[in-house]
């Protein structure tokens, strides 16, 4: 490793440069003085001696320079001069430089933005002390554990610490005379202790406290006007006073991640036995997840002895899942998310490739106009590698400038993304921050760009025969049809077709998803969410009167045609059950998985879901009546084939048989993309499971006219409840989010790719035609028909485009196949409409790129054309 040591000696030298110069002066002085003394001894006069010594020494200036050079990095000096030369030539060629930098800025800007987004979604870490040692503990595979289970596991002291949290818990915040629905995280009193979540102001919730609250920065800012005296202030949540003790920093990330941004952290009350919490454990230093899992399983077995359940906990389903970084995707069904981002990175990589191809063809065009200069340099003895280095330095300079501009684009785009208020049922705010990874990535991208876009033109430019190029006019000879530039533009077009096809596909997907009929009426329905303060309704039965009263009063509002209460709002909540069921008295059970919902009598009328056979629920289907159900067509087909299910019964393994009274048409339940899902409806009042979160649906010809009245009616029923009413058609955002995100992202990326490729295509075609100006002029001068000449030029351009389209569509046909998983079911990834649109757009661009310069060439006076160049 000789050169490494050499390298370091040179590096150390840089720091000692001034000392080095002084010492060198001292050394020269010593040498000359000693020699002078010696010469003086031989009898020379002092002055003669000095002159003689100087002469023998030679030029001190040259010696100093040579010595200095011994320590320098030659390639850095060379690079520096190459860069300066490149910068000068860029300044001469402003249009070229602007086009190249703009291409790169867009390509790199979008690339780094998607990179930042991917980093945020896939690798971001929660705000906590050593988050990599925090894990999600799932006892018996359950995401949440009861409070007594939490205490049991905590007191087993198997981990460095164990806390519980319930994210996405809603609380009613009473402020003045208003009640607001806020998103809280309910945490056990040791939560902040175990996780070490940093606090910006004040202190965290501490051991033994059940009446303190920690605010998030945005709650403090937006709801309390950033009150500097906020610490110690009492706030009322769910009818109880809590003292503000702390405020979180503005860049707080919850353990849940994905930008979930709650409003407040509230402690779980000491007597809150019904609360369930997700367990988070801090692993001791060095403990692996496997070891932790064994402990969890052991605890699970002990739990079964201490708190036996009807069905024993399934020990083997227990899991220990990382909370930070990419590990959290291991056990989750989050693979599609990772794949989606992977696809995005590939897609923007292709955009960058197009941008690089643009720069490469610009460099090629430039290199051919610089052929003479390069030939001269080669002829006077510059080595080929030296000239290539010069050209590469220029493309490196371009890439660096492009990357800087791209980073600026990135900062603009990410700060815009951070400000987006996602129209989601839960508050989500992204926190994309540029970091060193982004810088490293952009540097890598810049280098790669320089190599990809610079190497080919540089090699080509230096390969040409010196003597033939030196002679001017040689390049008027028509080049072979398949020049490197043509290949580049074909490849570029092919890639952009792939991008465009993908973009169109996702846009079509968005259109289809938006117009897709979910199987129920979203245009004439409104959804009111009412949250009761749980403490006010200690018993299940106490909720029932207010629900019945609400339905009656909503129904009485003028304009409302039907009103009902529902446990699960379709396309917003997800509640499904998987279990073996039995039809009638058959001994054979069938494993099924179905969407489960409890609805009141008028639900099917409210949502306009047709009952195909039998009847809908009636108000008399309550706890005193025999149990009844309504199933959808898919469920009926599974159990009874094509026979009418009405009158048959269905039962769980241990449960009583329930009579099927109705058959409902299939609809969508959780996502628009789902197909053939089973569904089972139960009467709302026949079941004891009543929650504090109530959802009412009302039907009206003009739902927007009744929204206000609905809210007023519900608020009057219980002034401590928080009520929020929205139109059903605005509440589908969650279901449409994937399609929207895909449509917006890939649509815009596709068009960006097309724009870049069009610039490239236009540039190449225009350049090719303009180089034939003389030929065209000659043909016209000799009497060729202008239209025929135009046709010839257009034909040649179009042949290029047609080949590109064929290649691109061929690739797209296969490459888009795996995209089916992101699309709605009735859209094929080989959707012909998308492909046709792509072909049309590209042909238009090619035509515009050819006709412009060709017409200009035709209009030129033949004499002028002959003198051209």
């Amino acid at each position: 490793m000789q050169w490494v040591k050499e390298f370091w000696r040179r590096v150390r030298h840089i720091g000692n440069r001034s000392k080095f110069h002084d010492e060198l002066d001292d050394e020269i002085l010593f040498h000359i003085t000693t020699r002078t003394d010696e010469l003086e001894h031989t009898g020379l006069s002092r002055r003669e001696a000095i002159a003689q010594a100087r002469r023998e020494f030679g030029s001190t200036a040259r010696m100093q320079e040579d010595t200095h050079e011994a320590w320098q990095f030659h390639w850095i000096e060379d690079l520096w001069s190459d860069l300066r030369y490149g910068l000068r030539s860029f300044r001469r060629d402003k249009a070229f430089t602007a086009a190249a930098i703009l291409s790169l800025a867009l390509g790199i800007g979008i690339n780094t933005t998607i990179f930042s987004l991917t980093m945020e979604f896939l690798f971001s870490k929660p705000s906590a002390r050593n988050p990599e040692r925090l894990v999600d503990v799932r006892i018996g595979g359950n995401s949440h554990a009861a409070i007594r289970e939490f205490r049991f596991v905590r007191d087993a002291h198997d981990f460095e610490g164990l806390a519980g949290r319930h994210e996405e818990a809603v609380a009613n915040w009473r402020y003045g005379t208003e009640t607001y629905r806020v998103f809280s995280v309910r945490v056990t009193d040791n939560y902040f202790d175990v996780t070490g979540v940093p606090i910006a102001m004040g202190r965290p919730i501490q051991h033994g406290e059940d009446n303190t609250v920690v605010l998030t920065d945005h709650f403090w800012h937006n709801r309390l006007g950033a009150d500097p005296q906020v610490l110690g202030r009492p706030l009322f949540f769910d009818g109880k006073p809590y003292t503000v003790v702390g405020v979180l920093p503005h860049d707080h990330r919850t353990l849940l991640g994905y930008g979930y941004s709650p409003d407040v952290y509230l402690p779980v009350g000491p007597h809150d036995e019904k609360q369930v919490v997700a367990l988070v454990a801090r692993l001791p230093e060095g403990m692996t997840r496997q070891v932790a899992l064994e402990r969890v399983k052991a605890i699970c077995r002990q739990l079964d002895k201490t708190y036996p359940q009807e069905d024993p906990r399934s020990v083997d389903n227990s899991a220990v899942i990382s909370l930070s970084g990419f590990d959290r995707f291991e056990n989750e069904g989050a693979l599609p998310i990772a794949l989606f981002f992977g696809m995005l990175l590939v897609v923007v990589g292709l955009v960058l490739l197009i941008a690089c191809a643009n720069v490469a063809s610009l460099l090629l065009a430039r290199a051919s106009s610089r052929r003479q200069e390069i030939a001269v340099r080669l002829a006077i003895g510059a080595s080929r590698s030296r000239v290539i280095r010069q050209l590469l330095a220029e493309s490196l300079l371009l890439a660096t400038l492009g990357t800087l501009a791209g980073l600026a684009v990135n900062l603009l785009l990410t700060s815009a993304t951070n400000r987006i208020q996602f129209p989601l049922p839960i508050p989500v705010q992204l926190m994309i921050q540029p970091d060193w990874r982004l810088l490293a990535y952009s540097a890598a991208v810049a280098l790669l760009t320089a190599l990809v876009s610079g190497l080919m033109p540089a090699l080509k430019a230096t390969r040409s025969n010196v003597s033939s190029t030196m002679k001017q006019g040689e390049h008027q000879v028509r080049e072979g049809r398949w020049t490197l530039r043509n290949a580049l533009v074909t490849g570029q077009l092919a890639v952009s077709i792939l991008l465009l096809a993908t973009g169109f596909l996702f846009l079509r997907n968005l259109m289809k998803a938006t117009s897709m009929n979910p199987g129920f009426d979203v245009q004439h329905t409104a959804w009111a969410q009412m949250r009761l303060v749980p403490e006010r309704y200690p018993k299940q039965e106490s909720v029932r009167p207010i629900v019945s009263a609400a339905i009656n009063q909503l129904r009485a509002i003028p304009g409302v045609e039907a009103a009902s209460v529902v446990a699960t709002v379709p396309l917003n909540d997800n509640y499904h059950i998987g279990a073996p069921v039995r039809a009638d008295s058959s001994q054979q059970s069938i494993a099924a998985q179905w969407n489960y919902n409890r609805v009141s009598a008028d639900y099917f009328r409210t949502m306009d879901i047709p009952i195909l056979a039998g009847r809908a629920f009636s108000p008399t289907d309550d706890g005193n009546a025999p149990p009844v159900v309504i199933m959808n067509e898919n469920f009926a087909r599974l159990l009874f084939g094509n026979a009418n299910p009405v009158g048959h019964t269905i039962s769980y393994l241990k449960g009583k048989p329930m009579t099927i009274v109705g058959l409902a048409r299939n609809s969508k339940y959780f996502t628009l993309g789902e197909e053939n899902k089973l569904a089972l409806y139960l009467p709302y009042f026949q079941n004891n499971d009543t929650r504090a979160d109530l959802s009412f649906l009302v039907r009206a010809e003009r739902p927007e006219a009744v929204v206000k009245e609905v809210t007023t009616v519900l608020e009057k029923l219980d002034s401590s409840a928080s009520v929020e009413t929205k139109l059903m058609r605005n509440a589908l955002t969650f279901a449409l989010l994937p399609s929207r995100m895909g449509g917006v992202l890939l649509g815009s990326i596709g068009f960006l790719g097309l724009a870049l490729a069009s610039i490239g295509l236009y540039g190449v075609l225009a350049y090719a035609v303009s180089r034939r100006t003389r030929e065209i002029g000659l043909r016209v001068a000799l009497g060729a028909d202008r239209a025929a000449v135009l046709g010839m030029v257009a034909r040649q351009s179009l042949s290029l485009v047609v080949i590109a389209i064929a290649v691109g569509l061929g690739i797209a046909f296969f490459a888009t196949k795996p995209l089916a998983m992101f699309l709605v079911p009735d859209l094929s990834p080989r959707d012909p409409v998308s492909f046709l649109a792509v072909i049309g757009v590209l042909l238009l661009v090619a035509l515009a790129a050819t006709l412009g310069p060709a017409l200009r060439a035709l209009r030129i006076d033949p004499m002028e054309a002959l003198r051209y160049e």
Binding site: Q2, K5, E6, R9, R10, E23, L24, D26, E27, I28, F30, H31, T33, T34, R35, D37, E56, F57, G58, S59, T60, R62, M63, D66, T67, E69, A70, W71
Partner: protein, 109 residues
Amino acid sequence: MTPSPELLPGTLYLLILRTLASGELHGYAIARHIKNSSAETLQIEDGSLYPALNRMLVKGWVSAEWGISENNRKARFYKLTPEGRKQLNRETKEFDRLIQAIQMVMRTA
């Protein structure tokens, strides 16, 4: 003074390495030693010694340290490193082979 014969490229390193083999010396002493031991035939320009010495410092063949010269002046003393000693052996062998080859050509010609 007769014009000095041109040095073969790279021989200056060999001369310096050989000179330093007997112990550490300052720049002037090296120059004098080369001049004297070649009976003043090899007259290198004194100034050209220093770039060569610095290149050798970069390569790690010699190390340098400030000290006091025999005439009580501050001077920079150069010393062979183990790496430099190896290099001396290598170059000496190379040089011998080269000289032998040249002599063989001269004799047969």
